[in-house]
């Protein structure tokens, strides 16, 4: 584990499981103190914190439903208080899916997916930019999806939210680029997580790599985009999909 960074800390939303948990662990290995946000699974979030601390890193579990408009301020306040530094890395990873074909998709399912996957990312980004503008640096990574770029029947709400996240990424990236702040998106393809556990594996035959990706393979890309080395990468969408969109 490298020297702990004292200049800032990192917030990863939806970090108790899957891709978010892998991202929290990967970023911690760069010395960032990490806020491990979770909605309901406190035991899993505590396990992520314990794993990070076990490697000599620093982390704190932060409860909160990001779809709640009051939560961004609460998360940032708690994280800044825990580590006495501004949040200089934000990873908008929290996401839900409620799949159905468009003709039968309910308003409530549309609204819930947009609220968590897109609106929350906007509010968290807006909140994050305050200290980042002051600091003249910062990294925001939005976890989009390959379905933002390539149709996947049954996911109109999820795809619309994830495509919106890419547009948010590009627009905000251009707005703040001259302040040393970068905003990028990562678009994972088929990744083995709880979220994809029940989905048909027939799709795997369409993946050139002929296998599903791992959360760690996504996390490695996020770790790079969150690093000091990625200073000239902004407004980009990095697909991590085994060649599915190539």
């Amino acid at each position: 584990m490298p020297e702990p960074r004292q200049d800032g800390c990192a917030l990863v939303t939806g970090a108790s499981r899957g891709i978010g948990a892998a991202i929290a662990k990967a970023i911690a290995r760069d010395g960032w103190a990490v806020g491990v946000n979770y909605h309901s699974d406190s035991a899993s979030a505590d396990a992520v914190v314990a794993a990070i601390e076990g490697e000599g890193g620093r982390a704190v579990a932060l409860a909160g439903d990001v779809a709640d408009a009051a939560v961004p301020d609460q998360l940032f306040g708690a994280l800044e208080a825990a580590f006495h530094c501004p949040v200089l890395v934000l990873v908008n990873n929290a996401g839900i899916s409620i799949d159905d074909l468009t003709p039968s998709l309910h308003d409530s399912d549309w609204d819930a997916v947009l609220a968590t996957n897109l609106t929350a990312a906007f509010r968290l980004t807006r909140r994050a930019l305050k200290p980042m503008l002051r600091a003249r640096r910062g990294r925001i990574v939005n976890i989009s999806s390959i379905v933002a770029l390539r149709a996947n029947p049954g996911q109109a709400n999820y795809a619309a939210a994830k495509a919106g996240l890419i547009a948010l990424t590009r627009t905000a990236a251009v707005e703040v680029a001259r302040r040393g702040i970068t905003i990028n998106a990562v678009a994972p393809g088929w990744i083995e997580t709880d979220m994809t556990a029940g989905v048909s594996t027939d799709l795997l035959s369409q993946v050139p790599a002929r296998r599903a990706g791992t959360p760690e393979e996504v996390a490695a890309c996020v770790r790079f985009l969150a690093s000091d080395q990625a200073s000239y990468v902004t407004g980009a969408v990095l697909t991590v999909d085994g060649g599915l969109s190539a």
Binding site: K130, L133, R134, E175, V176, R178, R179
Partner: protein, 80 residues
Amino acid sequence: MSVTAEQVESRVVETLASFGPDASQITRTATFEELDIDSLDLVELAQVVEEEYGVILKGEDMKELKTVGDAIDLIVERAE
């Protein structure tokens, strides 16, 4: 809130100076264009103003501002 125009002017000049221009150039009649103060700088100025005086300046408010004096006058007016 009781805040004087002098206090606001002092804080505004200090904040604008942190964005690059020399403090001596930042007069009430100086335009943001002359000072090379861009829209993102004004967003940051609005953040400072909100934190210090509880005055919320929206993007549309900031668009109307041409000079440093315009900004000071608006903040003082809203803080009253």
